[in-house]
């Protein structure tokens, strides 16, 4: 099985405060990996270091290495723009741009210099179909994206990410602001997307992690406590802290 990400003794600080402590882990291709843990445990921080979004935060400092298919993404000559183009990200709050549905999905390819209308049409259609949104919006592609419902907006953000045909999809609590029906739709979508993409998802919802992921990592206070096959982690947790968390004794 191919390694997509290889994290080696990663330490991350916000100013003086240490957010991640000595993380070592490997993320495999075409699997769904879920990060769980209580708020402030560093799971989102780790996710954001995969596409170097932490660079944007003042006072964020990192030690150690992250390799993406063997390349050190924090190396000096590594092009972060190219990295973000092949690693898509979906945020906690749906954040469509204030433009039309079509322009939202076409945004990424356009920034890469795709101008041909036919190609753009195909990309947008494919991305919307892959994110199970096409049938709902095919008649109103020119309408503002803000008119969509919350769940539709989040699927639009997924469509926007996969329009770049990325290798990896990072999802930062994508369903935390959605109702159960919209959440179920996104979970179905993730199961489908798994065939094409490697997915890393941060979630607060342990049932969700159990339902959709192949592997689960449990974080606590910046440390990786346990990382295993999802089924094994939820049925036979090796670490007592994991057991406490998944049985709801704290969190």
């Amino acid at each position: 099985m191919l390694n997509v990400f290889e994290i080696k003794s990663l330490n991350l600080y916000y100013h003086e405060k240490q957010a991640l402590k000595n993380i070592d882990m490997i993320i495999h291709k075409h699997e769904v990996t879920a990060f769980i843990g209580p708020s402030g445990c560093g799971k989102s921080t780790l996710l954001r270091s995969f596409n170097r979004m932490n660079d944007l935060i003042d006072g964020c400092r990192m030690e150690g290495n992250i390799y993406y298919v063997g390349n050190d993404i924090y190396a000096k000559d590594f092009n972060v723009i190219d990295l973000r183009a092949i690693i898509g990200m979906v945020f906690q709050k749906a954040n469509p741009f204030p433009m039309s549905i079509f322009d939202n999905v076409a945004y990424g390819p356009r920034c890469q210099g795709v101008k041909d209308k036919k190609i753009l049409n195909n990309i947008v259609r494919q991305a919307l179909e892959d994110s199970a949104l096409y049938d709902e919006v095919k008649d109103r592609l020119r309408e503002p994206a803000i008119c969509l419902s919350g769940g539709q907006q989040q699927r639009l953000c997924i469509a926007r990410a996969i329009a770049m045909s990325p290798e990896v999809l990072l999802m930062d609590e994508p369903t935390s602001a959605l109702d159960p029906i919209a959440t179920a739709k996104i979970e179905d979508l993730i199961a489908k997307l798994k065939e094409k993409y490697t997915i890393v998802i941060v979630t607060h919802n342990m049932q969700q992690a159990a339902r959709i992921s192949d592997k689960t990592a449990f974080f606590l206070l910046g440390e990786l406590i346990e990382y295993n096959e999802t089924e094994a982690l939820f049925t036979h947790p090796k670490n007592p802290k994991t057991e406490d968390y998944i049985t709801g004794r704290f969190g």
Binding site: F91, F97, G108, R160
Partner: protein
Amino acid sequence: MLGISMISLVGVLILVLIFGFVFSKGAAVISWDFLWGDYHETVYDTYYDEGLDDTVFSRPEDLDDTIWFSSVWGVGFTDSVDEAGNAIILIVYVHQNSPLSSLLDKNEEGNFIAISNGQIVNKVIFGDNIILYGSDGAKRAAFLFDQATIIKDMITVTSGGGIRGSIITTFLLVIMTLALAVPFGVFTAVYMHEFAPKKSKIVKLLRRLIEMLSGMPSIIFGLMGAAVFIPFTSAITSADGGNLFSGALTMTAIVLPLIIAATEEALSVVPDDFRQASLALGANKTQTTFKVVLRSSIPGILTGTLLAVGRIIGESAALIYAIGTAIKDKIILTERSTSLAVHIWSVMSQEVPNFEMASAISIIILLVVLILSLLVKLIAKKFVIDPSLR
């Protein structure tokens, strides 16, 4: 409670008084001729020596009863009074085939002049040295014209008192100023808000300076215009003294802080989510700034621009130096002229202040500013980008 409401009542009363005064003085002056007419009177000195054929013009049926008609020359006169209250003869109708529509110019050989509605008859000398004076009245004018076959000399005057030149100057000034100030202001704000390091001391200093500039009396900008921009524009164009370019540069200095502040404000309410989403899609900083962030702040920038337009239209002190106070009918960019606000100043500083005209121009300015502020409100309502209000 009562005291406060009494004070606010006095405030409202003062406003009502100002508006009432301006409207009662100026409303009667406003007409199409006022808005689009020449300010200066033009004197035409003409003659007609060919002799007439036998054409008889019939009096048009829709012509008012108070109009005296000459069927030989196809022209209608009416009695009127000028601003000083003297009786004048006003030409109110000229038939399209009338010989008066192609009279020869006394001052320029071979040049034709058409007598048209609204001109005032000053003096006419007919073939047998019979003279019609401007004070003789419309009835006598029609009578004498019907007797005559040639005109030795005819002097007519256009009425003047229009503000077309100042309207055009104001319009040009707005366009030229915005063409400079909007790009400069927007790019400065974008640099300060998006690209400069967050804790940059230079940016902080710049912001403080801009705040200071926006509170500075405009007459000081006018001095700067006179000291810097007039010599500068005179050096690179054929201008000599105040001109529209130096006016636009001075106004740019005045409205730049306004546009920078409005743009920064607009940029600061763009949710960070947009920037992150764009960067996460592999867009670079420039693409993110111009395709997403700036696009979302267009309503705010537009609002700032409209406020700037209001400021340009209302500015007088600075422009007295920078463009000058000479009221012109034909606008040349490198020459002196007046904006509407300075036009008010000019007509009020004549020997006999013209209150009516000043009030009429004030009404125009007030209306434009009112429309602008309504537009600002409309834009603010239509493009709310605060995500919490979606």
